[in-house]
């Protein structure tokens, strides 16, 4: 009797837990679509009589097929992830350090053995739309197929045509280093069933053509949400907190909703345009880290009307507040600042940073070197500042502002100290990074 009660209670608890779990999963699964916030009812592409928001922009309508394919590939920014540091473009091998292990992007040049040279169109669409490899195995959603699934077949195959026109590079793929249970790829099939809509882009007739083009660029090709939208427990994008900020390779991908304090609500259209097209907007800093790559390899190569469409769309995304402070104002121009007891950080700054950034943080000779008013500096985690100090802004070239990376020659404690110094001096709230944090950041490389 007693035993039975216990069993019953246990069963009851299990049921309750099960229902709760289902409820939680359901909450995660049954969420609005990526642009569900917009007024209007999406319709199938064919049902919208207006010019299609997919494909190339009107400016390129008359261009030849290779040009159009190249443009669409740029829109989808395949190159950034599928190229290792210093490696051959599109030959893969770039590591992504995830909580469960390291994943290496595959070779997508048309080499028949090590690349995708033997793939059929159907196989390519299966991969891009559904995350299914030719051998039937499943990709991890580090590959943003839940976004790419919105690409039209024509656009996806244009990308394939572009890739197949590349010179094949023989470079074997590196195996991922996931441990059990994350090495169980079949689990990804369940994940995909739950979190990949597997539907192509559907325009919203109530919205302007420009907005629809922006939605296609942002949601399908540009896959902005993959980094900028927070992830839920199941590692799917949490569309209820759309664009409230996420993490990309250790870098904080900041809130790009229209929240006035923590997002980009108070950025002017001109600032957004400049930032996306050129990687820098006056008073807003320089796109760096993964965003710097997105600008260099994708956004900067888009035509102005496409950038405009992206800005229009971004401006329509509802505000979602995240816990980032209001940007701090100007900083004093003298080295001494009361209450800033960080001699190591100051020493780092005076030797390595002040020549470009100036003691005021306004930039010594170039506005691009300005630190005040930049989100990364006003981020109490200090993550992006530290990563910038460690890695710099990529190769030295006259075409973009350059910052060298100091990680190789400076210790963890020194990098932490200077990041804390910069956030304290020029930001609204000091970061409290430790040498151990920096050691962790180093391993993201």
């Amino acid at each position: 009797m007693r035993k039975r009660t216990v069993l019953l209670s246990l069963a009851g608890i299990l049921v309750v837990v099960g229902v709760a779990a289902l409820g939680v999963i359901g909450w995660m699964v049954f969420q609005p679509g990526p642009y569900g916030f917009a007024t209007g009812t999406p319709v199938a592409l064919a049902e919208d009589a207006r010019p299609s928001p997919t494909g190339v922009p009107a400016e390129l309508a008359g261009a030849d097929q290779p040009t159009r394919a190249a443009y669409i590939t740029r829109m989808a920014d395949c190159e950034a992830c599928h190229t290792a540091k210093g490696g051959q473009p599109f030959a893969g091998g770039r590591p992504f350090v995830l909580p469960f292990g390291t994943i290496y992007t595959p070779n997508i040049t048309p080499d028949p053995e090590t690349g995708i040279g033997k793939w059929t169109d159907a196989q390519f669409l299966d991969a891009v739309h559904r995350g299914i490899a030719p051998d039937g195995s499943r990709y991890y959603p580090a590959f943003p197929y839940p976004s790419y699934t919105m690409l039209t077949d024509a656009d996806a195959l244009a990308i394939k045509a572009y890739l197949f026109a590349l010179a094949p590079v023989k470079q074997p793929n590196r195996p991922n280093s996931f441990a059990f249970p994350f090495n169980q790829r079949w689990l990804m099939a369940i994940w995909a069933t739950l979190f990949n809509s597997d539907t192509r882009f559907e325009p919203v007739p109530e919205q302007s053509p420009e907005w629809n083009r922006g939605a296609y660029l942002v949601e399908a090709a540009g896959h902005c949400g993959e980094c900028h939208t927070p992830r839920n427990l199941m590692q799917a994008m949490d569309q209820r907190r759309k664009f409230a900020g996420g993490v990309a390779e250790g870098w904080n991908a900041y809130n790009i909703s229209s929240d006035g304090v923590s997002g980009i609500g108070d950025w002017s259209v001109e600032q957004l345009t400049a930032y996306l097209a050129a990687g820098h907007a006056t008073g807003r800093g320089v796109a760096s880290g993964p965003m710097g790559e997105a600008v260099a390899l994708s956004l900067s190569q888009l035509v102005p009307s496409d950038i405009q469409a992206i800005v229009t769309y971004l401006k329509s995304v509802p505000p979602v507040a995240s816990n980032l402070p209001r940007l701090a104002g100007p900083a004093p121009a003298t080295p001494q600042v009361a209450g800033l007891d960080n001699p190591l950080g100051q020493r780092m700054f005076e030797g390595n940073c002040a020549s470009c950034h100036a003691w005021s943080g306004a930039g010594a000779v170039r506005e691009q070197a300005g630190l005040t008013g930049v989100r990364a500096v006003n981020d109490p985690s200090g993550a992006n500042v530290a990563l910038m100090v460690l890695n710099g802004s990529g190769p030295l070239a006259a075409t973009h502002p350059y910052m060298p990376g100091f990680g190789r020659a400076y210790s963890d404690a020194e990098v932490a100290a200077v990041a804390n110094y910069v956030t304290a001096r020029f930001g609204s709230e000091a970061s409290t990074l430790t040498a151990a944090d920096i050691a962790r950041f180093r391993h993201l490389e």
Binding site: Q346, N352, S355
Partner: protein, 150 residues
């Protein structure tokens, strides 16, 4: 054509606006006192004054100079701080190979103009961007103090 005022004299140069002032001075105008050391604002060898403020000319696009007055090592002796620093440098024999010294002197003169009596911390803050491979730092410190006293 870009018009520049260097050490009080007008110059006109015909180079792309993004050309760093450093190379305009050295290669176009033949004013080789300003030195190239790194090209990435890490060494200070290229330091000049823009309206009296020390800046790294390797980072300064000539198109961004506008009407601001440029002073280089060739002209700094005409300012009171420049004279003092140059004299202190010779009195105390600060200089070794001398390659970094135009930059050191320009940074030191700017410091002295902004702060007539700098202490060690002020000197560190103002001079830490100037590398010297020969290792003249201890004398630079003394030289600046010597100049401040003179």
């Amino acid at each position: 054509m870009t018009d520049l005022t260097i050490n009080g004299a007008p110059h006109s140069v015909d180079v792309p606006a993004e050309t760093p002032l450093l190379w305009v001075l050295r290669d176009v105008l033949g004013m080789t006192g300003t030195k190239f050391g790194c090209g990435i604002a890490q060494c200070g060898a290229c330091t000049v004054h823009l309206e009296g403020v020390a800046v790294r000319s390797c980072q300064l696009a000539v198109g961004d100079v506008g009407t601001q007055a440029i002073t280089t090592i060739e002209g700094i002796g005409a300012t009171p701080e420049g004279t003092k620093i140059q004299k202190a440098w010779l009195d105390l024999e600060v200089i070794q190979c001398g390659y970094c010294q135009p930059g050191q002197i320009m940074s030191a003169a700017a410091l002295l103009a902004a702060n007539p009596a700098p202490d060690d911390a002020d000197i560190d803050a103002a001079m830490a961007g100037n590398l010297c491979r020969c290792g003249t730092y201890v004398r630079i410190r003394e030289g600046i103090k010597h100049a401040a006293r003179s």
